[in-house]
């Protein structure tokens, strides 16, 4: 797997390879988030997902999120690997690792990263279900999946931490 902190891959992700990238002597905490493919969404069965990506821009946007995190939580290190292509139920789609001297920043920064990924990183998923397939993120699904499109207001600001 790539040594870069921000990676797009079409191969299965090994979570420990991502957390190893942020491991360091100054860290007292590493939070590791795994985003996995869910079978049931509001009772609707997913058979598998297909992820599409704008690769170079996606990596640039992940790097931007990394900079945003360091501005908000000093002394954190972030690594993200996102998988694309066809993913089956329970496959790991994204792994986010954050290390920091103390645990609070690592928890908060990790959640910030996944919220920002869902806002500004050019990756799209197509859900293949029993009734056919559809791209998630279109107008229809903004209503069907309200939590999938977090508003900017949901992002914790510096002065609210």
């Amino acid at each position: 797997m790539s040594n870069s902190l921000f990676v797009i891959t079409d191969q299965p992700i090994v979570p420990e390879e991502v957390s190893d990238k942020v491991k360091r002597r100054e860290a007292g905490a590493i939070t590791l988030f795994l985003g996995t493919v869910r079978e049931l969404t509001y009772g609707k069965r997913t058979l598998y997902l297909e992820y599409e990506v704008y690769p170079t821009m996606a990596v640039a946007q992940l790097e931007r999120i990394g900079r945003e995190v360091r501005e908000r939580w000093a002394d954190t290190v972030v690594a993200v690997t996102h998988r694309v292509g066809r993913l089956e139920i329970s496959d790991i789609a994204v792994v986010i690792a954050v290390s920091s001297p103390h645990r609070k920043a690592a928890y908060e920064a990790n959640e910030y990263v996944i919220e920002r990924i869902k806002q500004i990183v050019p990756i799209w998923k197509k859900e293949h279900g029993e009734d056919g397939s559809e791209w998630i993120g279109d107008q229809l699904n903004q209503q069907a999946y309200p939590e999938g499109r977090p508003m900017a207001l949901d992002i914790p600001k510096e002065d609210e931490r």
Binding site: Y54, T56, V94, I114, P122, W124, W135, G137, D138, R149
Partner: protein, 76 residues
């Protein structure tokens, strides 16, 4: 300019990229031109990135730029 399309847009267009002889042109005018040429494209909520950067409606796209049409993202 080079146009890149993703998700439902590339399926509607039947291609993930194309070349258009356009520009300099503002993002707003570019979108209007696109709707004119490809009425079937669903461009609501589509964001524009020029050379991999999100831009405002007033940004001017140059003839040699790469323009990406980005539907609302759904990673994670």
């Amino acid at each position: 300019m080079k146009i890149l399309c993703f998700a439902h847009l590339s399926e509607q267009l039947g291609a993930s990229s194309m070349e258009l002889e356009l520009g300099p042109i503002s993002v707003a005018d570019f979108m209007a031109e696109l709707k004119n040429r490809y009425p079937a494209l669903l461009l609501d909520h589509v964001m524009i990135a020029v050379n991999e950067q999100f831009v405002e409606q007033t940004h001017v796209i140059e003839p040699n730029d790469t323009v990406a049409l980005l539907p609302p993202v759904s990673g994670g």
